[in-house]
């Protein structure tokens, strides 16, 4: 740990150069702008910036991407509070109390509270990242092929279950469609070209970035242009700087939401939106003023904004230690790390020990930038929300086209972006979540390779998948998540548990 502190401080000192500080400011500001605009998400912002930064050195590129990530998740709170339209899906819970506060004439107060809550969320998440990542990386050294297979499957199952809470079948369909997309192209063991039918472009498979730019960029453009125009924003008249009393009264709420947000971020593919919703629900349960939730509760707004920003750092933990993304934007971050020659995974603390703490310092720098820029530029930033969508969306689409093309210079990738954009639009229209789809694409090769590798090692026996301790635990959790989502099985299990607990209480 002292080494960790040393790496962290060294990284912070290296940021204290004018050029780096300028980078932190512009990347965070760009992230806030992207997050503010309904239709532009953190995932899209990261995917486009990965294209722009792939010629930079690894440290600068990852710093820019993390600032964009933190900024975008925070920026979404602006439109959630002022327009009742969450700028990113992670800010949906913030709209519940932020918008009623704005309508009651406290828009500035709500924006200020959301800024400070986001900062504290980032700090709690950052501390958890520094504490958990080294431990988890060491633990992950015990993982073999069966464990990685179950981890990939668990990621898709839990992501599908939690991001489509009302209808897990739709979440799982999205996840397995992602897995199917990942199966296209040359596989990693025998170099056989699956589902390619002699087409050399298909043999290369679908690139992650064109797919993400399509599902999060082009699909959103189609969605925004299809819907009625959103109303442009009014001014903010009241005080923006939060009162110390509000923060003191919510200290426990902030800590709880930060921890819940980090935990939700840690779960593969679950991400910031669930971090916000789970923190919001916990704050409501613990509150003495439950009736205010949904009608302008300060506690609710603070909980959701702390939760989603803590989930950013939480989602980076599995990226660094297991090479499994905790959310859709962190999937892009993972891809960017591979592009820049960093190999995240269990060996990260051995191969790149300083990098983990550099990332911690980057989250810290981005959180501080969010606090300063969020409080100082509240009013000027509102101008962004006044740009009509008819003028903004074609510019975004031009960037999507460049973003899809630039990494591999293949026109095929532009077609992939268009195709996945239309598929993403249709799936969204039918209420399918996008995070499991992305996770399926990212985890597909991991699941495939580790399943078959394990079968080779065990000479065709599936026994190790259930007898190795960690593998057995992951298998049990995965199967339990599936079973608990099937109503007749859930009723049966809950019935058995209640009989068991009744007998215990009698005895």
């Amino acid at each position: 740990m002292p080494d960790g502190l040393q790496f962290f401080l060294a990284a912070l000192v290296s940021f204290a150069e004018p050029a780096t500080l300028f980078t932190i400011v512009w990347a965070t500001l760009l992230g806030i702008t992207v997050g503010m605009l309904p239709g532009l998400t953190a995932t899209l912002g990261l995917a486009l910036l990965t294209t722009l930064t792939f010629r930079l050195d690894a440290g600068s590129a990852i710093l820019i991407l993390i600032c964009m990530y933190v900024g975008a998740i925070f920026g979404g709170s602006r439109s959630a509070i002022l327009l009742n339209i969450p700028g990113t899906p992670a800010n949906a819970a913030s709209a519940l109390d932020g918008f009623p506060l704005a309508r009651a004439g406290h828009a500035g107060h709500a924006l200020g509270l959301a800024t400070v809550a986001s900062f504290f969320g980032g700090i709690v998440g950052m501390l958890m990242l520094a504490l958990i990542a080294p431990v988890l990386a060491e633990f992950a050294l015990k993982f073999g092929s069966p464990e990685f297979f179950w981890l990939a499957l668990f990621g898709i199952v839990i992501s599908g279950r939690l991001t489509a809470a009302d209808d897990p079948v739709k979440g799982w369909i999205a996840g397995f469609l992602g897995l199917l997309a990942a199966m296209v192209g040359q596989e990693g063991i025998h170099a056989y070209q699956r589902f390619s039918y002699g087409n050399s472009d298909l043999a290369g498979g679908f690139g992650l970035l064109p797919v993400l730019v399509g599902t999060f960029g082009f699909a959103e453009i189609l969605q925004v242009m299809k819907n009625r125009e959103y109303k442009t924003v009014r001014g903010v008249g009241d005080r923006i700087l939060p009162r110390l009393r509000d923060l003191r009264d919510n200290a426990r709420n902030i800590l709880r939401s930060g921890l819940i947000g980090t935990f939700m971020g840690l779960l593969p593919g679950v991400g910031e939106d669930m971090g916000a919703w789970a923190s919001y629900a916990a704050a409501r349960r613990a509150s003495k003023h439950k009736e205010k939730f949904g009608k302008g509760s300060i506690e609710g707004l603070i909980a959701s904004e702390t939760g989603n920003n803590a989930a950013v750092a939480g989602a980076i933990i599995p990226v660094l230690t297991l090479a499994v993304p905790g959310s859709a934007p962190s999937a892009v971050l993972l891809a960017a790390m591979f592009i820049h020659g960093i190999r995240p995974g269990p060996l990260i603390m051995i191969e790149f020990p300083s990098f983990v703490f550099e990332v911690v310092a980057m989250v810290f720098a981005a959180s501080v930038a969010v606090l300063i820029l969020g409080l100082a530029l509240t009013r000027p930033l509102l101008l962004v929300l006044q740009v009509p969508r008819e003028r903004l969306m074609p510019v975004i689409f031009v960037l999507c086209t460049i973003g899809a093309f630039a990494i591999a210079s293949r026109i095929f990738d532009v077609w992939v972006m268009l195709g996945f954009g239309v598929i993403g639009f249709l799936l969204r229209e039918m209420k399918y979540p996008m995070a499991p789809l992305v996770l399926g694409i990212v985890l597909g090769p991991i699941l495939d390779k580790n399943f078959r590798r394990s079968m080779v090692l065990s000479d065709g026996s599936i026994e190790p998948f259930f007898t190795r301790p960690i593998s057995a635990v992951l298998a049990f959790i995965t199967i339990a998540v599936v079973c608990m989502a099937i109503p007749p099985i859930r009723r049966r299990i809950l019935g058995l548990l209640s009989v068991f607990s009744f007998r215990r209480s009698k005895s």
Partner: protein, 178 residues
């Protein structure tokens, strides 16, 4: 009071047909995976055959598609919409939304798959931005004066975006443009 088709009914019908299509896709994927070589002539362990995992994915998609389809069928998703009970207000709104969607789709596909690569990037981008802004702002304008203003704004934006994007990506970020 209108008893027009609700969004939930439309959703159930979409689930039914999507579930049906997904089941078919799952079956095709399973069949195609089965057809993949087992590489037995190379003494490859059959449990590492390239079609194994895609085949499992195909089976899961078939099951999930069948569950979705059966569930939607139970809720009446197989029924066609009743024309007599249509709500003209909702239908009109839907038609406008569908219209905006197809215009945006056509313009975007026309740019990315048609103009890009056939014309210099700056020219393709300028034409696309100009057309996009004019068409969408024209759909929302009522007077000639506002139409003229929209055309002027569109031309200005097209020139700025085409020049700035080409310069920034090619000269500053050294990115190769299509």
């Amino acid at each position: 009071m209108s008893d027009g088709e609700t969004g939930a009914q439309r959703g159930v019908r979409a689930d039914f047909w999507f579930g049906f299509g997904l089941t078919a896709l799952g079956l095709v994927v399973t069949f195609e995976s089965w057809r993949m070589p087992r590489l037995a002539e190379l003494n490859v362990n059959p449990m590492t055959a390239p079609g194994l995992v895609p085949g499992m994915v195909g089976i899961v998609l078939t099951v999930l598609g069948a569950v979705l389809c059966a569930r939607a069928a139970r809720a009446g998703g197989w029924r066609m919409p009743n024309r007599a009970s249509r709500d003209h207000g909702t239908d009109g709104d839907l038609a406008r939304q569908t219209g905006r969607f197809f215009v945006a789709l056509a313009l975007s596909v026309g740019y990315a798959a048609g103009l890009v690569g056939s014309l210099p990037f700056w020219a393709a981008t300028g034409i696309f931005v100009f057309l996009f802004v004019v068409i969408f702002e024209w759909r929302g304008t009522r007077s000639l004066a506002s139409l003229v203003r929209a055309v002027f704004m569109a031309a200005l934006l097209a020139v700025i975006v085409a020049t700035a994007v080409t310069f920034v990506f090619e000269q500053v970020f050294l990115v190769r443009l299509p």
